[in-house]
């Protein structure tokens, strides 16, 4: 089987018609990929004898042997046995090179921090910006009117122009330890001849790990062809692979609306967008773009079940009442080969939890988040958080939060040129962004976080 340069293993398989990547342990049900960005475990396969490889983020290389694994993966040999771990010492480590992480790195570099390390598990810099082919909203400072993909290119150029920023791609941080003077991160870098373990000793750490897509519970939700909207976006816009021929989109928030539009641009038929709420959650302008292309949006509708023989063949949709209960007799059977789920995101905070961050469940943030102060510092000295992993929001605000975290971390190392002024500028921009009706959720989220920081709230 063949793929092309730049493919991931999963995208190459998909283009060759292979959507089933594994089978479930107990009932041997077919499983395909879901998130497409290395956050879930849906695409695990055995690659060159190594089990549990996330094929969605593993670049395809020459003579790669890919096998389906139907049981719990077993390591055939000890990967690290002959390799000594390498030690790296640095001033600031940033985990994640999305909009928040990149902005944090650039800001800290501008402040004059001598050693900055940017770690990302993907093989491309930019996080999810690399699939955002639409123009961003906001003001000129936040690059409004420019497409996410172009922002990623611009950021990459900037990051590479700083001699004090080093980056490690295809590197996964698997552990972090809170030590007295420096924090210890354990990371695995995937090299051509096997994996290399690294011990990163860093004075400050900024976690900008992003978020992962939510799943919905309904019969058939594990069939290959039920994909996260972000996964579909990655497949189309990063790898140039069509996810299917006829798509039903679940969720009319901005992600659902934007991905539906991009599916149309890719030449895929979007049958309809389905939204359980009585109104469209995303921006009207995104909905209007879809509507004038003839795509209907069904509000107060939900998915009852997906059916098909080892792959999606259709979906049963149902109208819901005011309390979101299905109204029997209103079922509609829609044939499709792809069901796309865009029902929100959950912040990725596993590393923060591991290092001992104080966490709190905040519904408006999308789940549990690490409690942080106004300048993105968490309860542990020298640890900062930014972007979606500090509460689900937009790429524009992630950039500002990254900037804020970068300034804070640099200042705590003594590189505090104009720090106060810069911080206030960021705070002002954030307040402005969150002041409209669509900023209500993040505004409440950040207010609750501030409450938690000042002693906690009781629910």
């Amino acid at each position: 089987m063949q793929g092309i340069d730049g493919d991931s293993i999963a995208s190459a398989l998909h283009v060759n018609g292979i959507k089933t990547l594994s089978h479930s342990l107990r009932f041997y049900r077919s499983r395909g990929f879901f998130c497409g960005i290395g956050k879930c475990s849906s695409c695990f396969m055995t690659v060159n004898d190594i089990p549990n490889v996330r094929t969605c983020i593993t670049p395809l290389k020459k003579d790669t042997r890919v096998l389906e694994q139907d049981r719990v993966g077993v390591l055939s040999y000890k990967q690290f046995i002959d390799r000594k771990r390498k030690k790296i010492a640095t001033d600031i480590t940033i985990v994640g090179s999305g909009p928040a992480g990149l902005m944090a790195a650039i800001t800290a570099a501008k402040q004059g921090v001598p050693r900055i390390l940017l770690v990302d598990e993907n093989h491309l810099i930019g996080g999810q910006l690399i699939k955002q082919t639409h123009k961003f909203f906001g003001s000129k400072e936040e690059r409004a009117g420019i497409r996410g993909i172009d922002i990623a290119v611009e950021f990459e150029k900037q990051v590479k122009s700083f001699k004090n920023i080093k980056f490690m791609l295809e590197t996964t941080v698997i552990g972090c330890y809170n030590c007295k003077k420096v924090h210890k991160l354990i990371a695995v870098k995937r090299l051509n001849d096997g994996d290399q373990l690294f011990e990163i000793n860093s004075k400050k750490v900024i976690f900008a790990c992003g978020a992962m897509e939510n799943m919905l519970a309904f019969p058939g939700n594990d069939l290959p062809g039920v994909y996260g909207a972000g996964g579909v976006q990655t497949l189309m816009n990063v790898y140039g692979v069509k996810p299917g021929y006829k798509v039903v989109m679940i969720g009319a928030g901005n992600v659902g609306l934007i991905v539906s539009y991009q599916l149309l641009q890719a030449g895929v038929n979007v049958d309809r967008v389905v939204e359980i709420m009585p109104k469209i959650g995303g921006y009207h302008v995104h909905a209007a773009k879809l509507r004038r292309c003839g795509v209907p949006i069904f509000t107060s509708y939900s998915v009852k079940e997906v059916y098909g023989n080892n792959k999606v063949e259709g979906v049963i949709l149902v109208k819901v009442d005011n309390s979101f209960k299905p109204i029997s007799g209103t079922e509609q059977d829609v044939s499709c080969d792809t069901l796309c789920i865009a029902v929100g995101l959950t912040p990725s905070i596993r590393l923060l939890e591991q290092i001992g961050a104080k966490t709190e469940y905040i519904p408006e943030a999308g789940g549990h988040i690490a409690v942080h102060d106004r300048f993105m510092k968490i309860n542990i000295n020298g640890i900062y958080v930014a972007g979606d992993s500090s509460g689900i929001e937009e790429a524009s605000t992630a950039m500002i939060e990254g900037e804020l975290a970068g300034i804070s971390a640099a200042a705590s190392l003594g590189y505090d040129k104009n720090a106060q002024k810069l911080k206030e500028k960021c705070k002002k921009a954030l307040t402005q962004f969150r002041s409209g009706p669509f900023g209500e959720k993040p505004r409440i989220c950040k207010e609750k976080i501030a409450c938690c920081w000042n002693g906690g709230i009781n629910y």
């Binding site: 123009k135 009117g145 302008v285 209007a288 949006i297 509000t299 002041s435």
Partner: protein, 159 residues
């Protein structure tokens, strides 16, 4: 979500003439930008790009307001708007020239006859492509339709 009432466009996803401020015939003859952006979202590139300051906002979350007398119909806002929500409409004799953003392939050529679609994606007849500007990834296309479709047609489809 609160108990607030839901506007019709929040259910359907498209605006009707009632939701918009319609320019006078005199203003339309000169050619003006119709901004179909009626929600308070944090976004202001249209304000920044307007060369004659005809689009104004109190702050970034405000709804853009356009002074049809100041607007020259220069079309710069059509391609910068991230929401693809700005159109320029100009009346000329018995025809209406509608300038709209278009982000699909293939890109039509001047002289092509295409399907004219309304805000619901329904066909409202045929349109002639009279100008194509590809300076940006958002292609800006001007079509000519019957005068009575000036405020109805907002998209095109290639056959």
């Amino acid at each position: 979500m609160g108990g607030s009432t839901i506007n019709n466009y929040e259910k359907t996803g498209f605006l009707t003439i009632k939701d918009l401020k319609i320019p006078t015939d005199k203003q339309l003859k000169k050619g003006v930008a119709i901004i179909e952006c009626i929600q308070e979202i944090p976004c202001d590139p249209c304000v920044t790009i307007c060369p004659v300051e005809s689009i104004t906002m109190k702050d970034i979350n405000d709804i853009p307001k356009i002074d049809y007398d100041k607007c020259t119909g220069c079309k710069r806002c059509v391609s910068i708007c991230p929401g693809l929500a700005i159109f320029v409409v100009k009346l000329k004799d018995e025809k209406a020239q509608i300038t709209l953003p278009y982000e699909f392939l293939p890109i039509p050529k001047v002289g092509d006859i295409v399907k004219a679609l309304d805000r619901e994606g329904k066909s409202r007849g045929q349109a002639k492509v009279i100008r194509v500007n590809r300076s940006n990834k958002t292609t800006v296309i001007t079509i000519e339709v019957d005068k009575n479709l000036a405020m109805g047609v907002r998209n095109i489809k290639m056959d």
